[in-house]
């Protein structure tokens, strides 16, 4: 963002950020996470709320789902009341707004560094540092781990946000984002940072007796590490850390803020699945991991479900017909599938068991990418929200 928005960037008190409700979408690939999260965002904005939508989806599906052109990481306004009044609710005080962003942490990282205003040519030195480049690459490949930092930054930048909706990367790994932001936090907050900075030529003179003792021990450890991997890497790492000192301070603050926020009782964790074996396994696993980590506020959304009432319709069951495989034609496969779909439904419901499940019925036409219009997303979003 611009310098101006950064000036308002002060450590936000925990209380302030709770004003914003967090919605996190998890689930296997291809279950419709991006579409459903975008639809909830549109729906809430149409209802007059100020909404942020942050997509972690590396597939950049958000653009397609919103039918928009380029969306970057900064959080630009994608829609606001007044642009198309007929679409949103007619209430007087409707200030509905949607800001959308696609997470790109290497870009965010550069922005954070620029925001700190490094002296002289330090910025260039830093960006061309091989370790920085690798760190940026690593960050890009482990986006979900660092996403909480961007999430916490959002409420600093846009303090009037009512709802922030996060669309995560597919699969079980995205849960790291929820249960282990502290893993990264631990590193940023650890003594070894101090050691490395000092190793690379930090503030030796000011050290007191005890610090010197500790550093004596640290030196031994670093020397030993140097024997395994070489001292070059430790020196480089130390240099990098020195240059990024301020940025990292802020990252630590934001991670801590995010950690508390994710665990707040108002946070809405939506596990999306579809009637597919592996998607169900992923959903069950996610739900289990969350419960084990004391996060009980999750719910399961079964997307593209074929509702029970469909199978109660006698005209429908009249279409059933079993076939030997391979089937002669598409029609026979389809008629067999209708019958199997009922069994699939029963087994899915049994597997999801006790968990609270909301169904989003399969709807013709909605599955085609790029076809979605805002009205349709709004309609879909209503069913996503109604289960809140």
């Amino acid at each position: 963002m611009t310098k101006a928005s950064n000036e308002s960037t002060r450590p936000v008190s925990s209380q302030a950020s709770r004003k914003t409700r967090l919605h996190i979408f998890l689930g296997a690939g291809g279950v419709g996470k991006t579409t459903l999260s975008a639809s909830l965002a549109i729906h809430l904005a149409f209802q007059g709320r100020k909404v942020g939508l942050l997509s972690i989806d590396p597939a950049k599906r958000l653009k397609t789902a919103l039918g928009a052109g380029d969306i970057d990481e900064s959080g630009q306004i994608f829609w606001q009341k007044g642009h198309d009044n007929k679409l949103c609710s007619k209430e007087q005080n409707n200030h509905g707004q949607l800001r959308a962003a696609i997470l790109s942490l290497p870009d965010s990282l550069k922005r954070w560094i620029r925001d700190e205003g490094l002296e002289g040519d330090h910025e260039e030195t830093l960006f061309s540092h091989p370790l920085f480049q690798t760190v940026a690459e690593k960050i890009a490949s482990a986006t979900e781990t660092l996403a909480p930092i961007r999430m916490a930054e959002w409420t600093e930048q846009f303090q009037d946000t009512d709802d922030l909706i996060i669309d995560t990367a597919p699969g079980i790994h995205a849960v790291d984002f929820l249960i282990r932001p502290e893993r990264l936090l631990a590193f940023f907050d650890s003594k070894i940072l101090e050691w490395l900075k000092w190793f690379a030529g930090g503030d030796e003179e000011s050290a007191g007796f005890i610090q010197k003792m500790v550093r004596g021990g640290a030196k031994q450890i670093l020397k030993a590490l140097g024997k395994v991997g070489g001292e070059n890497i430790l020196l480089s790492l130390g240099e990098l850390l020195l240059m990024m000192d301020k940025v990292m301070f802020r990252m630590v603050d934001r991670l801590e803020e995010a950690r508390q926020w994710i665990r707040h009782e108002s946070t809405d964790i939506v596990i999306v699945c579809s009637p597919r074996d592996d998607a169900i396994s992923v959903a069950r696993e996610l739900s289990k991991i969350l419960t084990e980590n004391g996060m009980n506020q999750s719910r399961i959304l079964l997307n593209r479900s074929i509702p029970e009432s469909f199978f109660d319709d006698q005209e429908v069951t009249g279409l059933y017909q079993t076939t030997e495989f391979p089937a002669d034609n598409f029609e026979n496969l389809f008629r067999h599938y209708l019958q199997s779909a009922h069994s699939i439904r029963k087994s899915i419901m049994a597997r999801l068991g006790e968990t609270k499940v909301t169904e989003v019925p399969v709807l013709s036409g909605l599955e085609e990418a790029g076809d979605l219009r805002l009205e349709e997303l709004d309609r879909l979003g209503r069913s996503v929200r109604s289960s809140v």
Binding site: G29, I172, A174, V228, G229, N232, R276, V316, I344, E367
Partner: protein
């Protein structure tokens, strides 16, 4: 089943590499494909097979009705072993058992602060993953009498999946010294060897997975200097149709009229949506097959054929998809 499949699998003549990385985004059924392929190799080809994962949880053993495995491999079915890589365990093995640096490990690497550094350091966990693999392929027989004919890697879904292949380059940028350098060099050597390491992409006949597969192929070619061995297409309909990929997705007029004249509008819409979903699966499989020159092996959607059969029986059924993969 179809001519298409025939040519695909014929292209597989020649022997498979020892290690095959199964790559693919989360939710495409990578673990199912890995389990089915491993089942085929062990049951039908009498090979000793190991499935290696790097995941929060072992997802493969449950598919075979087995108990969850940890870092140490477990024999889930006769000749079929499963393990779930753990970076901490691998580092301990490497320093304590392999380099005989037990003291170093206990006093330096187990230091809480150093642990934090290790977990955050770029490429290190990946290097140890590949190092563990190298050990299994090249050293385990001599050191421990452990040998596997085939090692299937159920690669991590995000990030490290393909990042694994770039790890040597990452590490070499830092002018490292000492044992980690030789580790990196020999791991890179193993990855370069087409007789030892190959890749397979697991995907679905849907829009995004197909798109991602088409993007992944050139990346793999750039990293490894060779294309993937084959593509495994989960939830395919073509093996279930006599006409395979050429089947028309039109209904007969009579049946079409019955669907269109359903009284309940919701039922009518649902029918249309289901028909659209099945038709699109054929369409995307066609698109995939037209866009790639590497073999595509279709794994039938078993949920349609036998929705009530799960666990190892389903995997056994799916393993038949590999019947024509040679050797």
């Amino acid at each position: 089943m179809t001519d298409q499949n025939q040519t695909d699998t014929e292209a597989q003549q020649g022997s498979l590499p020892v290690v095959i990385f199964f790559l693919g985004k989360g939710g495409v059924g990578r673990s199912t494909a890995a389990a089915s392929f491993a089942y085929d190799r062990s049951v039908n080809h009498h090979e000793k097979v190991l499935v290696v994962q790097w995941s929060i949880k072992d997802m493969v053993s449950p598919l075979l009705d087995g108990k969850e495995a940890g870092h140490k491999h477990v024999e889930v079915l006769p000749g079929l072993f499963v393990m779930n890589y753990n970076a901490d365990e691998a580092m301990r093995e490497y320093f304590v058992e392999h380099l005989n640096m037990g003291m170093f490990y206990r006093f330096v690497l187990e230091n809480q602060q150093v642990q934090k550094l290790i977990h955050a350091a770029p490429g290190l966990e990946e290097l140890f993953f590949l190092g563990r693999l190298f050990w299994l392929v090249e050293l385990a027989k001599e050191e421990r009498g452990i040998h596997f004919d085939r090692i299937i890697i159920d690669s991590p879904a995000t990030g490290h999946g393909t990042a694994l292949f770039g790890v040597a380059a990452t590490i070499s940028r830092f002018k490292l010294q000492g044992p980690l350098v030789s580790e990196t060099t020999r791991v890179a050597g193993m990855l370069e060897d087409a007789a030892k390491v190959g890749t397979a992409i697991v995907t679905l006949p849907e829009e995004l997975p197909v798109e991602e597969t088409l993007e992944m192929i050139p990346k793999i070619e750039a990293d490894l200097n060779r294309p993937p061995l084959f593509i495994l297409l989960n939830r395919s309909l073509t093996p279930l149709l006599l006409g395979g990929i050429l089947t028309s997705t039109q209904f007969s007029n009579e049946f079409n009229n019955r669907c269109r004249s359903l009284t309940n509008p919701t039922s009518r819409i649902t029918i249309e949506a289901v028909q659209g979903d099945l038709a699109r699966r054929l369409e995307y499989e066609k698109k995939l097959r037209e866009s790639v020159s590497i073999p595509v092996i279709a794994m039938p959607d078993q949920m349609i054929v036998a929705p009530d059969i799960g666990g190892v029986h389903r995997i056994a059924e799916l393993s038949k998809s590999f019947a024509r993969v040679s050797q």
